[in-house]
């Protein structure tokens, strides 16, 4: 799977959300987002059966 282009994604997503971030904020938020992206990649790597569905209200 192609890796997410974190830098451009953060700029575009922030703009789309109506967030007016200055360069420093963008850098800080981008650094956090990059860490989140690394964690996301860990879980995206795991293939799950199609039968596994998300449960918005989790029932243990």
């Amino acid at each position: 799977m192609k890796r997410l282009d974190v830098e451009n994604f953060v700029i575009a997503a922030a703009r789309a959300q109506g967030l007016d971030l200055d360069a420093e904020q963008l850098q800080r938020v981008g650094a956090v987002f990059a860490r989140n992206a690394e964690l996301a990649e860990l879980m995206l790597e795991l293939d799950l059966p199609d039968s596994i569905e998300p449960a918005p209200v989790f029932e243990p």
Binding site: L4, F9, V10, A13, A14, Q17, G18, L19, D20, L21, Q25, R28, V29, G30, A31, V32, F33, R35, N36, L39, A40, L42, M43, L44, E45, L46, L48, P49, I52, E53, P54, A55, P56, V57, F58, E59, P60
Partner: protein, 455 residues
């Protein structure tokens, strides 16, 4: 004095509730400045409730189980007449809550007396209770160190002997982490067991509420009065109370210690604590949880996405007033792609199935509660498992995968002479009784023991 002893003394007429409450208020007045755990002291209310308990006893009425026992709550529980701050400066102008949160009501019905609200990380996003607006909560065992978070005020108030019981919340470890670092007992029940009605939310699909105490018997007694369905919280299971106070003597038979991930991210002291507890409980095996690092990653993503979504509008309007330690994390979370969030929730459903298989073989799993004991206030990084990791996000490495599966956990403080460190006793969903049985056994053997600082 522990909560059940206080209640017994009041019932026997050896102490009045007014005496008990005045002692607690005086200790808070004297010692809170050094610890920084109380945000608001509800002295008038406490005195009025104490007088009512004494009056009831004088008239020969039957006293409820926690009559006259002082307690306090994390500042995300609604308390009638008090603004619910949730650790945020932005909420200083919030209107006072109109009524008590459901769990505060239940404590009151059980006779317990609220003496105040307690500090926390802003919006419960953190594991250290370093709060820029309200100050840092200090560990009662060493004021240069953190109390843990986000329910740091709750754990510190109990560890300092200011109250025998406190309530907190746990999304990814916010009861278990401070319980471990402050050396007290803490319960994170099964997801959906206790209603959250009247508490300020953080991550709806992961938020739990629960108690702190100085003994496993107190923790059980408190948990028992908190139980019961509440239709106002859609995630609260409509199950009747399943009291644990009388079953806590049973010994769990099939115990395993969690290794792999849980050993890799634990210091020598935390690993030793989990080995000591597991050995004392007669652990028959050591096991690794499948894909546990991915489970933790998914919990992290769900947290970021839900918390970011909740606060996005306010962040747009008042970024500068947000807690600097978490505002960029909230903003980054608000940008989470939908596919990450959906995959995380699917992984959660899958992981739940994996845990169910494990609990067909074992009654209780044992793991460290925190990677290390309390670290210095202001510390930014920590080295764990050969990796340099951000401390504030990593204190929950060992608790996050467990709450992700919604499992009940009692965190017990392991007896020792250094800074406290706790161990998680984990059971299958709805089997809090097994966690309590293991905790009571460890306490009886002298392996688990709360550390309360001198008054």
């Amino acid at each position: 004095m522990d909560a059940l002893s206080v209640a017994a003394c009041i019932r026997a007429g050896e102490l009045s509730a007014v005496q008990v409450v005045e002692t607690a208020l005086s200790a808070i007045e004297r010692r809170n400045a050094a610890i920084g755990c109380f945000i608001k002291v509800t002295a008038d209310r406490a005195r009025a409730e104490a007088r009512a308990v004494d009056q009831l006893r004088k008239l020969g009425g039957e006293l409820p189980p926690l009559a006259g026992v002082p307690f306090a709550v994390k500042d995300l529980f609604d308390v009638a007449g008090v603004p619910t701050l949730a650790g945020s400066a932005l909420r200083k102008s919030a209107p006072p809550a109109r009524s008590d949160a459901v769990l505060v009501q239940r404590m009151r019905e059980a006779g317990a007396i609220l003496v105040g609200t307690l500090s926390m990380d802003a919006y419960a996003y953190g594991f250290t209770t370093e709060n820029t607006a309200f100050g840092t909560t200090r560990n009662p065992h060493d004021p240069s160190r953190i109390a843990g978070g986000s329910s740091g005020g709750s754990a510190a108030a109990v560890a300092a002997g200011l109250v025998p019981l406190a309530l907190g919340s746990d999304t990814n470890g916010s009861i278990r982490v401070p319980a471990s670092l402050c050396g007290v007992f803490g319960l994170k029940p099964t997801y959906g067991r206790l209603p959250r009605t009247g508490s300020y939310p953080f991550v709806d699909s992961l938020d739990h509420l629960g108690p702190f105490a100085t003994t496993s018997a107190d923790l059980a007694a408190c948990y028992d009065v908190l139980q019961g369905p509440d239709a106002s919280d859609r995630a609260c299971a409509q199950r009747q109370a399943e009291p644990v106070s009388r079953t806590a003597a049973d010994r769990p038979h099939r115990v395993a210690r969690l290794t792999g991930y849980f050993d890799r991210y634990a210091s020598d002291e935390a690993r030793a604590a989990s080995r000591r507890a597991a050995y004392a409980l007669g652990a028959i095996d050591e096991i690794e949880l499948p894909e546990v690092h991915r489970a933790r990653a998914a919990a992290f993503i769900i947290t970021a996405a839900e918390a970011g979504e909740r606060h996005l509008q306010t962040l747009k309007e008042c970024y500068a007033e947000f807690e600097p330690l978490s505002r960029d994390r909230l903003l980054a979370g608000a940008l989470t792609p939908a596919m990450w969030y959906v995959k995380a929730q699917r992984l959660r459903a899958w992981f739940r199935g994996q845990m169910a298989r494990i609990f067909a073989r074992f009654d209780v799993l044992v793991a460290p509660a925190t990677p290390v004991s309390a670290t210095a206030i202001g510390m930014e990084w920590i080295e764990l498992g050969g990796e340099k990791l951000p401390l504030r996000a990593s204190m929950g490495l060992l608790t996050q995968p467990i709450s992700f599966a919604g499992l009940p956990v009692v965190t017990v403080p392991i007896a020792g002479t250094g800074m406290p460190v706790g161990v998680q006793l984990i059971a299958a969903p709805w089997r809090e009784d097994r966690c309590f049985a293991a905790a009571a056994n460890l306490e009886r053997m002298g392996i688990a023991q709360a550390r309360i600082t001198e008054r």
